[in-house]
């Protein structure tokens, strides 16, 4: 009964909205809004043909590589900078400035410096997404509990062991908060770099549809971007819940007090 209730809740509003959509497009054919049926048909036709391999998968792959690189580089650099106090003081203003620059602005810059290529698009993604990971890692490393640090010190846990058993887990919540921001910026940059500076890929294809007024196709493009966003969010939440199970448990206990 509970499961049924859960499903009803999950499906309720979406179904209602689709119904409203369907009803409102029943009558006159609108230029801007396709009917649900048209959209579904168009979606399958548009994306599951050749385009899957020529546009969709390469875009997703670039996104994946860019985000993965940004996360790894961000964490490594963050670990280093966060642990050395003078290094942190030295670099923090410059890093905060870079974080404040709206990431899409780097697309024209990198177009200039690297031309239009796969590696340029990946670098665009990295150059935008690395900042939240980097800055959050620095903050997480800085805020390690003093007593915990002393404990590790007295038991001779230093060097790499310290990073693995103390620093990374302790900074984990902060780092993952940065990763979440990184993922959404990455998706934005993937789309922008392709809309602005490309001849292939999801972003480019969608813009082409819009330019040629292929409206249902354009909507299907919006839907697929939405699906990618949802999928990324889902994967992130799943991973985060597992990695930070201890943290959520701890917060629950603390909040119950």
């Amino acid at each position: 009964m509970r499961i049924a209730k859960g499903i009803l809740y999950a499906v309720g509003l979406p179904a209602l909205l689709v119904l409203i959509w369907w009803v409102s497009t029943l009558g006159a054919k609108s230029f801007f809004v396709p009917t649900p049926g048209t959209l579904a048909a168009t979606f399958a036709k548009t994306w599951f043909g050749d385009r899957l391999f020529s546009d969709v998968l390469p875009s997703i792959l670039r996104l994946f590589v860019g985000v993965a690189a940004a996360i790894i580089l961000g964490i490594l650099a963050g670990l280093l900078i966060g642990s050395v106090r003078w290094l942190r003081a030295l670099t923090e203003p410059v890093l905060e400035f870079f974080r404040a620059v709206p990431p899409p602005v780097l697309v024209p810059v990198l177009m200039l410096l690297m031309g239009i290529s796969d590696s340029m698009k990946i670098v665009v993604i990295i150059s935008g997404c690395i900042w939240p990971v980097l800055l959050n890692t620095i903050e997480g490393v800085r805020a390690i509990d003093g007593v915990l640090s002393d404990s590790a010190h007295t038991y001779g846990i230093g060097g790499w062991a310290r990073v693995r058993y103390l620093v990374l887990p302790s900074a984990g919540p902060q780092i993952l908060a940065g990763v979440r921001q990184c993922l959404s910026i990455g998706l934005i940059l993937m789309v922008i770099s392709e809309m602005f500076a490309s001849s292939s890929g999801l972003g480019f294809t969608i813009v082409q549809f819009q330019r040629s007024f292929a409206v249902p196709e354009m909507w299907s493009g919006i839907v697929i971007l939405g699906l990618i966003g949802v999928a990324m969010s889902f994967i992130f939440q799943f991973t985060e819940r597992r990695i930070l199970r201890w943290y959520h448990g701890l917060r629950e206990v603390e909040n119950a007090v």
């Binding site: 003081a89 709206p102 602005v105 410096l113 998706l187 789309v191 969608i206 354009m218």
Partner: protein, 255 residues
């Protein structure tokens, strides 16, 4: 060496490196002009009305978008957050719509509004709304049951309860949401201007790049970064002021 001196040293070091890289030929100067040239271009820009007009256009879009999104989010957020039924009913939809990148709406915006400011607003409002909305939901959910019951037993009506119990609890979350939304709104404003061509700094950057005014392009990028930093500082200031009496109760929320 104090923290401030090191920070300034870092900035100077960065500028110096930027100056040297093109001059030493590590990167072609026409793709990356030296810092001095860019700073000079910025100094020139600052004297032009056209520059400030663009800044104004960006900030207007930012402000209108942010405020509209925040108001919408507060109202809808309070309504949804106060009812367990509504929360559960809307949960799946929210979790589906939230991660949709607002840049996906760009083609639609172009179709509907072309290169007018409404295009920017559409993107800004969509993205900023979620930031504030989610935080308001957290805030309303965090209201202490005991406080609520106490208020009720003292005979406070709904409006009074909202004012004295719900609002103070939700306020820190709201401020966090607005702070996050402020930077998201700027990003989207610039993005819309850059990609769609609606009026503002983003469009100027695209024009500079396609017109070959490279130092000018970098100068504008610097300007957007500075605006971003200023907005961050402004938001943190506002947050501190409104929550100065509250921050002792709230523990640090990792966002």
């Amino acid at each position: 060496m104090t923290k401030q001196t090191l920070g300034i040293a870092g900035i100077l070091g960065f500028l110096l490196t930027w100056e040297l890289i093109p001059r030493l030929g590590l990167v072609e100067a026409r793709f990356l002009p030296p810092a001095s040239e860019v700073l000079a271009a910025l100094a020139l820009d600052v004297q032009l009305t056209a520059f400030w007009a663009a800044v104004g256009e960006t900030l207007v879009a930012w402000a209108i978008g942010l405020t509209s999104a925040a108001l919408l989010a507060v109202v809808i957020g309070f309504l949804v957050g106060s009812s367990q039924f509504l929360r559960r009913f809307t949960n799946s939809t929210v979790e589906f719509l939230r991660p949709i990148p607002s840049v996906a709406l760009i083609p639609l915006a172009v179709l509907l509004f072309g290169v007018k400011i409404e295009s920017s607003l559409m993107l800004i409002i969509y993205a900023s709304f979620w930031q504030v909305f989610i935080q308001v939901l957290y805030g309303v959910a965090d209201v202490d049951n005991v406080a609520m019951q106490t208020a009720r037993s003292y005979g406070l009506n709904m409006a009074a309860r909202v004012r004295h119990v719900v609002f103070p609890t939700a306020l820190p979350y709201l401020m966090t949401g607005v702070r996050l939304a402020a930077s998201v709104a700027l990003i989207l404003a610039i993005t819309a201007e850059l990609v769609i061509g609606s009026p503002g700094l983003g469009r100027e950057i695209a024009l500079a790049q396609s017109g070959g005014a490279i130092s000018g392009m970098y100068a504008l990028i610097l300007a957007t970064g500075l605006i971003g930093v200023l907005i961050n500082m402004l938001m943190r200031f506002i947050e501190r002021k409104t929550l100065s009496w509250h921050s002792s109760i709230r523990s640090e929320v990792i966002v």
